[in-house]
């Protein structure tokens, strides 16, 4: 069994380039058969939202996403895994989060990216505050129970690395 890959995790204020992150992962190799990316973007909520402000817990944000990513590379036979999460003020249309997963066959990359996002939403220490276009502060976004449920479904049916 080959050693699991070491995931790349970055927490940053600046934007990221999806194509550049894929290129970094696949450059110079011919063994990758599938790359799945997920990008999370800031919505304008029908014109109501001026920006999201993302607060995070420096240190723990990296550590927690690192722990989730480490579990993903144990559970699926991946050839690359990158997770980037932005913090600070983010305007509608801008990127918030990126997951890139690479594997020989598509299923592992799809599942690992899905798993990473589900866990990241309920366990990575980030909090969103809304700023409205009318200048008012919209308050903190409430956590969704559906996100906890989405994460808990991965506790069953553990696929084995082969």
């Amino acid at each position: 069994m080959p050693a699991a890959v070491v995931p790349t995790v970055r927490i940053q204020a600046e934007d990221f380039d999806v194509a550049a992150e894929i290129a970094k992962m696949t450059q110079g190799r011919a063994d990758i058969g599938a790359v799945v990316t997920f990008s999370g973007l800031c919505r304008d909520e029908a014109g109501r939202l001026a920006a999201l402000e993302l607060e995070h817990y420096p240190g723990m944000a990296e550590a927690e996403i690192g722990r989730i990513a480490a579990e993903a590379v144990q559970r699926w036979p991946l050839q690359g895994l990158t997770a980037i999460h932005r913090h600070g003020r983010i305007a509608p249309g801008e990127n918030i989060v990126l997951v890139v997963a690479a594997s020989t066959h598509r299923q592992a990359a799809f599942e690992a990216a899905n798993f990473l996002m589900d866990y990241l939403k309920s366990r990575a220490p980030f909090w969103k505050k809304e700023h409205h276009t009318d200048g008012s502060e919209g308050g903190w976004v409430d956590a969704k129970e559906a996100d906890d449920e989405a994460a808990s479904r991965w506790k069953q049916a553990v696929p084995k690395r082969n």
Binding site: M60, A63, E64, A124, P125, W127, K128, W140, D142, D147
Partner: protein, 85 residues
């Protein structure tokens, strides 16, 4: 030994500071004990910790349950359920 408490999002706003160093009184053994003691420290704490069950806690930057022992914790963070991604 003093313990650093760190607050985030509306817990930080309601308590009115991002962090503080505290001397924990004797008898504070678990996270639940800590939340109960903090809540008694004043109106702002009472407001932030009104519903202790919803408060999430990390010790030394790892998630823990409220029954977890806090002996040896350097850094304890209190925050609302997370909404990243």
């Amino acid at each position: 030994m003093s313990t650093r408490l760190i607050y985030f999002a509306w817990v930080r706003e309601r308590i009115g500071k991002p962090e503080e160093d505290v001397e924990l009184p004797a008898g504070i053994e678990t996270v639940a004990d800590l939340l109960r003691w903090l809540k008694s420290r004043g109106e702002e704490y009472e407001h932030a910790l009104q519903y202790p069950d919803v408060i999430r806690v990390a010790i030394n930057q790892e998630h823990v349950e409220h029954r977890e022992k806090i002996a040896g914790a350097r850094e304890i963070a209190l925050f609302p359920p997370m909404t990243g991604g």
